[in-house]
């Protein structure tokens, strides 16, 4: 013990304190480590400062410092009147704001647009906050009820019948087309080289058509009775309610377990009746505002929301079709997806505007906005199909096999086991597609629809407001609106991605 103590050196006094390490946190630390730590970095920092100096300062000057904030016409925004180099001309935006938001929607009816916006926000916000309950009901309201209500709110007009009349009408049209096709084949058979074969085929098709017309006879008879009565809408509504509720009851399991389905069906129909009564749809509804009067942000939002709502079912159907083992369905899905993904959206819009009317019966005119919507739905549907397919591929085989082992059918396996997981996987991708859809809605301005960008462009030609800074002001305003929507969506997608990957964080 003692020899160790004697041979070793034991310090008796304290060491002087070393200086504190170089600070690497906070603003000073940031400057030291990330901005000025080497000659190259100093040079890069100077380049960055110069870049910001020549972009941020002029922008701020244009938007705020040199801007004109009030005035009645272009005179207020001219340099010689204002006395300084004029930046943004905000009174121009003020004057054009109704046009940029509503287009030519009649002034007295604009409350309908506002109401639709409020409804959409009220339904969408709870859907986006993960913590809030009743997602299923909320999604049902937003994706099914809201589009219908919004249509009658924005477009106006009423209904003359209900489910039964519509079903009967569609079936009748379908049947007429089949009989027409059969007769066309019969007509060809008279001049063709193989008359007997064509004659047989034609007669067979006509026979099928006649059989269908006999099958749907009760439906059409009931329709005619209802239309002849005093209250066609309510009569039809009552019959439809009874039929659909009974079917739901039967499918739900009859006397044993069908009560729940029956109750929800009746509740749905009561809600529909309330909406019909409230909006007076049976008595002509609100005054009609044709879509050529719509414009501005209204059209942008209508096109993008419709695109979002319709493209997802199309995408899911195509993705399932592409993974199907049935050859014809798989080939069709692949061809369909690759076709729409291979062409630019603008040619799709041209297709919908110029080619689609030729494919429809001559007496059947489709509204310009609806045509664009069809084109966008097909186009986006193909992109969504690829997103959904990615999600489907990420689900392990074992999930489907386990479901099959439990005795679930293909439909139940897909809708209860595979799709919910797959869709949750690809929410960020779906939202990214929605962002590009939102940006792409600006293309409808090329096919003579006045969305936000189209209205903006139209407002440039107003001589009352033509100043050197008008175009820049307009683009700044529209740019801010587009940026808020797209940036908001992309942040939301990041938030969801973060939440979904919570278990993978370390």
């Amino acid at each position: 013990m003692s020899d160790i103590a004697s041979s070793s050196f034991v310090r008796k006094d304290l060491l002087t304190e070393r200086p504190a390490p170089v600070k690497t946190t906070g603003f000073v630390g940031l400057m030291r480590t990330r901005l000025f730590n080497s000659p190259t970095n100093i040079l890069l920092t100077i380049v960055g400062v110069l870049l910001l100096w020549f972009t941020i300062i002029p922008s701020v000057r244009f938007l705020m410092v040199d801007a004109v904030w009030s005035g009645k016409d272009r005179a207020a925004c001219l340099t010689e009147n204002a006395g300084f180099a004029v930046g943004a001309c905000w009174p121009y935006i003020q004057a054009k704001l109704p046009q940029l938001i509503y287009g030519f929607y009649p002034e007295a009816e604009r409350w309908r647009v506002d109401l639709t916006f409020i409804l959409a926000a009220a339904l969408l916000v709870p859907l986006l906050v993960p913590r809030l309950p009743a997602k299923g009901l909320n999604a049902g309201l937003f994706f099914f009820a809201f589009p219908v209500v919004a249509f009658f709110l924005l477009h106006g007009g009423g209904i003359k019948g209900f489910g039964l009349s519509w079903t009967a009408g569609v079936l009748e049209l379908f049947d007429d087309s089949i009989i027409g096709a059969g007769q066309a084949v019969l007509g060809v058979s008279k001049t063709s080289a193989v008359p007997p074969v064509l004659w047989v085929v034609g007669n067979f098709i006509v026979l099928v058509g006649v059989a269908i017309s006999w099958l749907i006879l009760p439906l059409t008879w009931l329709r005619d009775q209802i239309q002849g009565a005093g209250q066609p809408v309510w009569g039809d509504f009552a019959v439809t309610t009874v039929i659909v509720s009974l079917i739901a009851f039967g499918l739900g399991g009859g006397w044993r377990t069908g009560w729940r389905a029956l109750a929800s069906s009746i509740a749905t129909f009561i809600a529909i009746a309330l909406v019909i009564k409230l909006m007076g749809l049976d008595r002509g509804g609100l005054p009609v505002v044709t879509t050529n009067l719509w414009g501005g942000l209204l059209v942008t939002l209508v096109v993008s929301v419709t695109g979002i709502v319709t493209s997802l079912p199309i995408g899911i159907a195509l993705a399932l079709g592409r993974r199907s083992t049935i050859p014809l369905i798989r080939i069709f899905s692949i061809a369909f997806i690759e076709f729409w993904r291979g062409v630019p959206l603008i040619t799709v819009l041209f297709f919908a505007t110029y080619m689609l009317p030729l494919f429809l019966p001559g007496n059947f005119t489709v509204d310009g906005l609806v045509r664009a919507l069809i084109g966008i739905a097909l186009f986006t549907g193909a992109y969504q199909a690829e997103n959904v397919r990615g999600g489907l591929a990420a689900i392990p085989r074992g999930q489907g096999e386990a479901a099959a082992a439990l005795g679930l059918s293909w439909w139940k396996t897909t809708s209860l086991i595979v799709l919910p997981q797959a869709l949750r996987h690809v929410i960020p991708n779906l939202v990214n597609s929605f962002i590009s859809l939102f940006k792409d809605t600006s293309l409808v301005s090329i096919v003579a629809l006045f969305d936000l960008l189209g209205s903006l462009r139209a407002s440039f030609s107003d001589p009352k407001w033509s100043t050197p800074s008008t175009a820049f002001t307009g683009f700044a305003f529209a740019g801010i609106i587009y940026f808020i929507f797209c940036f908001g969506m992309s942040r939301y997608s990041l938030f969801v991605e973060h939440r979904l990957n919570a278990h993978r964080r370390n």
Binding site: L30, R34, L35, N41, L44, T45, G48, V49, L51, L52, S177, I178, G180, A181, T325, I326, P327, L328, I329, R330, F332, E338, R341, G342, V343, P344, L345, I346, T347, F350, F351, Y354, M355, P357, L358, F359, L360, P361, G362, W410, I435, K439, D440, S442, L443, S445, I446, L453, R457, P468, A471, F472, F475, A478, G479, Y482, F483, C486, F487, S490
Partner: protein, 401 residues
């Protein structure tokens, strides 16, 4: 009591069932018949309606209109074109215009995209923030918005040709477009071009030889001085012998406009600017993701083998990053080509603008014209994806996967 194994039952019926109906067997066949019937019905409706509608509008179906005179002018043509040429020539003119704006846009988009990606990856805090702001702003604005912004706001705000902005006195930019010097072939043009081609071919052959020597015998051959001599020295030497290959004709302001030089129309400038800056934001993200996808350990492993930092980047990091970068990059190139169809909004004479726009409104042959336009875009994208799948196949083979 025989102990032989029984023959397996004949599987032909099963196989046929599988081919015809997939996993679901005969049910699948039935579904296919129903599906085919529906498709056939829709097809019948489309054809019969289209025929009836065309008859009502007195339009003759078919591609005969392609040989008719177009009768309108196009303000940018790469091949000679006058108003008395046919619609087929209009189609080719529009296609070439689409391709030229796409190629120029792709070059600039790649350049800007790589620069922005390097900015975002830079250790310098300020520069990476600047790159991030650029990407966020550009990605969140519609491309049509950007095209119109450049065309209606920026280019329209430029002064007229008399007060045009001079770039070093050789190029002038004004609201009538960009005027640049145009090259005029001199006496020595042909030998110059021939020698240049020879130099390129010889350098490629040399590189092939050097790689072969490296892989077969492990011999390093330094080829860059020779390549430099072939690519620069040889044409220079020809120039001394045969004279100057071409001279530049400088644009001169005469009256209210420029004479001489070649004018690039403002639509082209706006479209190229918008498309390349827009696509660059996406390319920057792709490149950044690709470089970040290479593990840090790869760099350290390269260093521990004694490779220099540049050699590690060139031989280890970049090849692995390229594997991640190339497929989405091609996709962006394809997107740029497709987005160039937005030219129709500002009147740049691309395929959609002159063919699906002007020609369609003149002839009314909607079905043929839109089918041709969609077909050519589809062809381009299918070709690209075919090339990409070959690339992916080669890549997976070379990685030994």
């Amino acid at each position: 009591m025989s102990t032989e194994a029984r023959n397996p039952p004949p599987q032909i019926a099963l196989k046929i069932r599988r081919i015809l109906g997939g996993k679901t067997g005969w049910n699948g066949v039935a579904v296919q018949f129903a599906f085919a019937a529906i498709l056939g019905w829709i097809g019948y409706e489309i054809v019969s309606n289209a025929r009836a509608n065309l008859e009502n509008q007195h339009i003759a179906a078919g591609f005969g209109f392609l040989s008719n005179n177009a009768g309108f002018d196009v303000n940018q043509t790469l091949i000679s074109y006058t108003g008395s040429d046919t619609f087929l020539r209009v189609f080719v003119v529009g296609l070439l215009n689409t391709l030229v704006v796409s190629v120029v846009g792709i070059v600039f988009a790649t350049l800007i995209g790589f620069i922005v990606a390097l900015c975002r990856l830079s250790p310098n805090w300020l520069l990476s923030r600047v790159g991030e702001i650029y990407v966020e702003i550009i990605r969140n604005l519609p491309v049509l918005f950007q095209i119109l912004f450049w065309y209606l706001a920026v280019l329209a705000a430029l002064p007229n040709p008399r007060q045009s902005i001079s770039l070093l006195g050789i190029a002038f930019i004004s609201n009538r477009g960009l005027v640049i010097p145009s090259p005029i072939g001199g006496s020595g043009l042909e030998p110059f071009l021939a020698m240049l081609a020879l130099g390129v071919v010889a350098s490629l052959a040399l590189r092939f030889h050097a790689r072969r020597a490296l892989f077969r015998e492990g011999r390093m051959i330094r080829i860059w001085p020779t390549v430099l001599g072939l690519l620069v020295g040889l044409p220079l030497a020809t120039m001394l012998v045969f004279g100057v290959p071409f001279t530049f004709e400088l644009p001169q302001l005469k009256g209210f406009n420029f004479a001489g030089g070649s004018r690039i129309i403002p639509e082209f400038v706006a479209l190229t600017l918008a498309l390349s800056t827009y696509t660059a934001a996406f390319i920057a993200e792709i490149v950044r993701a690709g470089i970040l996808s290479v593990h840090k350990g790869q760099m350290e492993a390269g260093a521990s083998l004694g490779l220099s930092r540049g050699a590690t980047l060139r031989l280890v990091v970049v090849p692995q990053a390229m594997r991640v970068i190339v497929p989405p990059l091609t996709n962006q190139y394809l997107n740029l080509t497709k987005n160039s169809s937005l030219a129709v909004a500002i009147g740049y004479p691309d395929l959609v603008s002159v063919f699906a726009g002007t020609s369609l409104s003149q002839t009314g042959q909607a079905i043929e014209i839109i089918a041709m336009t969609m077909g050519i875009y589809l062809l381009i994208s299918l070709l690209t994806s075919a090339i990409m799948s070959v690339y992916g196949w080669r890549l997976s083979r070379s990685l030994g996967a």
